[in-house]
């Protein structure tokens, strides 16, 4: 909202329709498939050019799987997936490889996602070596430019990742992701592993890069305050399905789905005046291998009625710009 690039996000960059990703559960002597974990089960969603779409939900809700399927790091079981109009599910692998330049990922763990035996200059330069025909001198000057862009001391490019702190390592991961000048970046819990004082530095960096490079983000996180800060729109997932999608501010101010409301009220606020009654959900998230009938949230929903256990609610527009999948939305 704060800049003009975001003010007219008309163009659709990513279009998802009824996307599914099932993982088979195999058992027994012959590895027979006895069931499926429905990690992503019919998700429809559009991400517009230049916006940040936040995806929230608890562990096991399928948010990371959705991010990986969008990048085709995992094959979809069904549905449609378009990136800039290209149908990613039917694309040949060579064409897909070319498109990969346009879409990149930043991982959560700044320790596990960088090869410890590569120099930082090789980590950041690797995508350039694969996708661009550049001399090693050109690659080096590009690495210097990228490191300066993400706020790293470029004179340290001949060092190994373990010589950097967690926040600096995450900057290395970001430099690698933007090396090919992509349009779309999936940030999968990109700041979750960082300490608060370092986390805010990386959030500022991500927002600065978006402004300068015109990036589109899919920002996957469980930290709701961070998601609110960075996202234009937010989708809430529960057990493989989107239960609510909307503009960030209105969704946080007036959640319509009981799950969104419970999730928001569960966050402890860093203020003393806010010790108030919360909606404390009973029980745990059910297994995605065997989701409840009807609305998947009905087993934990404080407002569930008999219809909820029988009929599955569809994601429909409840307010302008707000979709919710609930038979009895709040208000």
């Amino acid at each position: 909202m704060s800049n003009t690039a975001k003010a007219t996000p008309a163009e659709k960059l990513v279009e998802i329709n009824d996307l599914k990703k099932y993982f088979p559960i195999r058992k027994g002597l012959f590895n027979r498939t006895v069931g499926h974990v429905k990690a992503v089960d019919g998700v429809s969603l559009t991400i517009k050019q230049g916006e940040t779409f936040g995806l929230v939900g608890e562990s096991g809700c399928g948010k990371s799987t959705l991010g990986r399927v969008i990048l085709q790091l995992q094959h979809a079981t069904g549905g449609e997936l378009r990136f800039e109009g290209h149908d990613l599910l039917t694309l040949k692998s060579r064409e897909l490889r070319e498109l990969r330049e346009e879409m990149q990922i930043i991982f959560q763990d700044p320790f596990g996602s960088l090869n410890p035996r590569f120099l930082v200059r090789d980590i950041i330069g690797e995508p350039l070596r694969i996708h661009r025909r550049l001399s090693s001198k050109e690659i080096d000057s590009e690495v210097v430019r990228l490191m300066e862009l993400v706020g790293l001391d470029a004179s340290r490019r001949n060092r190994y990742p373990h010589e950097f702190s967690g926040g600096q390592r995450q900057r290395i991961g970001i430099a690698r992701a933007i090396a090919l000048n992509p349009k779309f970046i999936v940030a999968d819990e990109a700041v979750s592993a960082l300490d608060v004082s370092v986390q805010s530095q990386v959030i500022n960096l991500l927002m600065k890069l978006q402004k300068e490079l015109g990036l589109t983000y899919l920002f996957i996180a469980h930290g709701l305050n961070v998601v609110r800060h960075i996202s234009d729109r937010v989708g809430v997932m529960y057990l493989g399905k989107l239960v609510e999608v909307g503009e960030t501010e209105s969704l946080f101010a007036e959640p319509l789905h009981p799950y969104t409301a419970a999730l928001l009220s569960a966050i402890p606020k860093p203020r003393v005046s806010d010790r108030r009654e919360r909606i404390v959900l009973q029980g745990d998230v059910p297994s995605p291998a065997n989701p409840p009938s009807g609305c998947r949230f009905h087993t934990r929903c404080p407002f569930a009625q008999s219809k909820c256990s029988q009929v599955e609610p569809v994601l429909t527009e409840a307010l302008p710009g707000r979709q919710v999948a609930c038979h009895y939305p709040l208000q």
Binding site: D195, V196, S197, S200, N204, N225, T248, E249, P270, V280
Partner: protein
Amino acid sequence: MAGRLLQIRDLTTGFVTEKGIVKATDKVSLELKQEQTLCLVGESGSGKSVTALSIMRLIDYAGGMVLEGKIDFNGQDLAKMDQEDLRDIRGNKIAMIFQDPMSALNPVFTIGDQIAESLGLHRGLSDSEAWKEAVEMLKLVGIPDPALRAKQYPHELSGGMCQRVVIAIALACRPALLIADEPTTALDVTVQAQILDLLRKLKEELGMSIILITHDMGVAAEMADRIAVMYAGVIVEEGTVQEIFENPSHPYTVGLLQSIPGLEGERGKELFTIQGNIPGLGQIPSGCRFHPRCPHAKDICRSKEPDDFWITDDHRTACWLFEDKTTNKQDRPIKEGHI
């Protein structure tokens, strides 16, 4: 007013390394009253967990040792006690729970057995009595079908359920003090809310004190009576929860609170940041440990470690900025129990 349960004076804990002794905490002083919750907050490497392990003297098993200081627990100095006597206190009078409930439980014993174990050990109950009490404990921590669940193994329970079991084990002997080291960090927010509610309820019912270690200022705001903020092995600020949140004084506390994005108000604008990174244990800066990252650093900050300055009777900060604004330490001696 409830009596004092724990008083820590100048606790310094170190680890022996190839390069000599590295101090993980330096002159930590804290006090805890009965039925009070104290939150130790700080970022990774600030020494919160080391402080907790030192109180239990479990640090001896983690390659460290208490170098200096006093840990007065109900009149006994835990810092000087030998391990044999400490076994009487651990699990009995002071219990501890950890971040990852799955790895805190033994996968090859039923959860009932694991709760009954400490009851047999510390309270001398027979097997059948201990089992009965174990089922009662499961009921107390809100596990449905406790009699059935007691016969199950940890892998049959979810993360939130496992943390309830760990709490049941910790509280089985009705300890006077529970030390909880990031008990909800590995859990989802809706489950975290359940566990925090449970801890609050049990504290009331059993009348115990809690030391809660967390990096989440939100959790601290919700649970604490008092908060101690740690940075690079020292306590930089300590006071009541109201004082810390409404009148934060140390530039580190102020920065920490400002860098958290809120759930209301303007979004998308640049967040406040504390420049630089947390120093490692081997590279503790001279003077005030925060001075390389502090926007207000003066000459004295670089050369001399700050004393504790009392802002109110109940609120101290280790920052030279408050040298003139408060009466100094000599006038308000820490030993008189002002903490």
